[in-house]
């Protein structure tokens, strides 16, 4: 992954905006931002962001590559779409945030311990394995993400909800051993592999 980063740095030199336009989902929209700030003000998690979206867009234009890609900010996005709805220039801000997060992750620059990144990874590995989310495995992995003790405590805190879900048939208590998965798991894996290939080719990642 570190190599990917070096090759991108060499390829784009100081033009981070160009790099974002080429490699980040919906990145071509970044230059359309007119810095009105309505996105930052509309974000329900706004106060928790180190750099609100408008600032990230400005940082991209200013070429502050490391700072942007290593930022925790875009990982804060919960996809509420408030910013997209209100943006006077109709920038797909939510998608750009996820695109930036994904790009940073692929370059290996995303903050390692960021909880959103870790959850996203656990979720993806879980669903990609069998084509269907295994809820029990997902929650167990998520709870025990920060170690055994923290996991037990979290599990105890959530036990009422868990029992409720089991009673209504929403959670299979034997899910860890008997997970259904999808019919054509091999086909799904093949499809995902192909999708990765296409994506890498499009974005200029060396396979």
């Amino acid at each position: 992954m570190g190599d990917q980063n070096t090759s991108m740095v060499q390829k784009y030199r100081n033009d981070f905006l160009k790099e974002v336009e080429a490699n980040v989902e919906e990145g071509a929209w970044v230059k359309m931002c007119m810095q009105c700030g309505v996105c930052a003000g509309s974000c329900p998690l706004g106060p928790a962001w180190e750099h609100p979206p408008q600032e990230i867009f400005m940082m991209i234009r200013a070429g502050r590559r490391e700072e942007v890609l290593k930022s925790e900010s875009m990982w804060m996005c919960t996809s509420c779409y408030n910013c997209i709805v209100r943006c006077p220039r109709e920038l797909p801000i939510t998608h750009i945030m996820h695109g930036l997060a994904n790009y940073a992750h692929r370059l290996g620059l995303a903050p390692k311990m960021n909880p959103t990144r870790r959850f996203a990874k656990i979720f993806w590995d879980n669903i990609a394995k069998s084509g269907r989310v295994n809820e029990l495995e997902l929650s167990v992995r998520l709870y025990f993400m920060d170690g055994f003790k923290a996991g037990v405590l979290k599990g105890l805190a959530m036990k009422d909800i868990g029992i409720g879900m089991m009673k209504t048939g929403r959670l299979n208590p034997f899910g860890l051993f008997a997970h259904k998965g999808c019919k054509d798991i091999k086909g799904i894996h093949k499809m995902l592999k192909k999708a990765y290939e296409i994506e890498d080719r499009k974005k200029g990642f060396v396979a």
Partner: protein
């Protein structure tokens, strides 16, 4: 009204605001016959509803007075009020303009003495004050109204109130049996000057214009500041009638926004800068104005005006498009939320009153009556050389008064050219 004579050398001007009046006067003063049509009961349009103009801060009565004098003194201009254009057919040099003239129920005998309104108690919203207050249903549209003639609201017809008004008139000026009239006017050229209307602020959901009493529009603020307005020139909050001393102005309310109006309405920055002067005029150093903006668009010579307002210690500028507004239920204060672009500071700013600098959109859709090209915002595109219908003033673009008048004069010249061509053809 059957005495309206028109030929194919007549110029019909649609809209009796500052642009239409200018067009009519300019054409008539070159010797052309003009019919000026106005939808409402009196001339003057939105300029009449302003407290002051920018940049010289004089009152609109002044400019209107001059135009009215030129208009009244010119026998070539025929003014029809309450007249609405239904259809324009034909080609340059030969148009048929179908017009409906709505009944005023008051005839030419009226001397505007006001005796008819005396016994009337029914009240209707006052459109001259953007419905901020009510007026009697028998009314003079405004102090400056031309023609200076009373008007009876159609809702009153058939009620005993109407009879009372009729009985009170000493000049036999009230005719309750008046009917709508349909006219077909011949015209060589048409100048379309139907002006603008403010963007519906209620559509900007996060600003809560339809939910919070103390969020008002810039045009309403003009009426509050005007001594002839509903508050006699005192800036009072709609919620509790208290004096508003700390006022927020939000720029681009509806303009430059792909969810609302795509275009920049051009006048709103200057309008808000001008309105900070109203606050200073009323309260001196005790007033506070805060302008929330994306960027200030004070073009050309207006830069000086902007710099002067900048230098005013009571006016603050915050570079930020406000994200949303909430209301403090107890006090009625408005709280503006957003992030300042200069430094990315988050603010929750409390103000007495919030004024939305609303954008301009075309006042009427010309496509309903004639086949004319309009742009994405509905403004009339420049006509081709063979056409005889010309947009003027704010029907063609978002313009300030000065530029609207220039536009009207330019369109009049083109209309005169068409009419002159017709005169030549006939002379041969």
């Amino acid at each position: 009204m059957a005495d309206v004579v028109a030929t194919n050398e007549t110029i019909v001007v649609v809209g009796g605001g500052i642009s239409g009046m200018t067009a009519a006067v300019e054409a008539a003063e070159t010797g052309k016959d003009v019919i000026l049509l106005e939808r409402s009961p009196s001339l003057g349009g939105r300029v009449n509803q302003l407290y002051r103009y920018f940049p010289k801060l004089c009152h609109p009565t002044c400019g209107m007075e001059i135009n009215l004098r030129r208009l009244r003194g010119n026998p070539r201009i025929r003014v029809l009020t309450l007249a609405e254009v239904q259809k324009i057919e034909g080609k340059a040099g030969d148009y048929k303009v179908s017009v409906t003239v709505h009944p005023r129920y008051v005839n030419e005998n009226c001397t505007a003495c006001g005796a008819c309104a005396g016994p009337v108690t029914t009240e209707i919203p006052n459109p001259f004050n953007y419905n901020l207050n009510k007026m009697k249903a028998v009314y003079l549209p405004s102090a400056m109204a031309y023609p200076q003639r009373y008007c009876i609201d159609p809702s009153l017809i058939g009620t005993p109130e109407a009879e009372k008004a009729k009985a009170a008139c000493p000049h036999d000026a009230i005719d309750l049996g008046m009917q709508a009239q349909k006219l077909t006017l011949t015209a060589g050229a048409v100048v379309w000057a139907t002006g603008w209307r403010p963007y519906d602020a209620g559509k900007i959901q996060p600003y809560g214009y339809d939910r919070f009493a103390n969020v008002i529009t810039s045009v309403e603020f003009e009426r509050l500041a005007d001594p002839r307005g509903p508050t006699k020139g005192r800036i009072l909050r709609p919620s509790d009638g208290k004096e508003a001393k700390d006022i927020a102005f939000i720029q681009c309310a509806g303009s430059r926004d792909r969810n609302h109006l795509k275009h920049c309405s051009r006048i709103c920055c200057m309008a808000s800068l001008k309105q900070t002067n109203y606050v200073r005029e009323k309260y001196g150093d005790d007033g506070k104005s805060t302008i929330y903006y994306i960027d200030i668009r004070a073009i050309d010579r207006f830069e000086d005006f902007y710099q002067k307002v900048r230098a005013d210690g009571t006016v603050r500028f915050i570079k930020s498009k406000v994200a949303n507004i909430t209301e403090d239920r107890e006090s009625g204060d408005v709280v503006l939320h957003g992030v300042d672009t200069e430094g990315y500071h988050r603010y929750d700013a409390r103000h007495d009153l919030c004024v939305l600098a609303v954008g301009m959109q075309p006042g009427a859709d010309i496509r309903a009556v004639a086949d004319v090209k309009v742009d994405a915002s509905g403004f009339i595109e420049v006509a081709s050389a063979t056409d005889g219908i010309f947009g003027a003033g704010c029907a063609t673009n978002a313009l300030d008064v000065n530029r609207a008048v220039q536009s009207a004069t330019a369109s009049t010249l083109r209309a005169i050219q068409v009419v002159n061509r017709m005169a030549k053809v006939e002379g041969q």
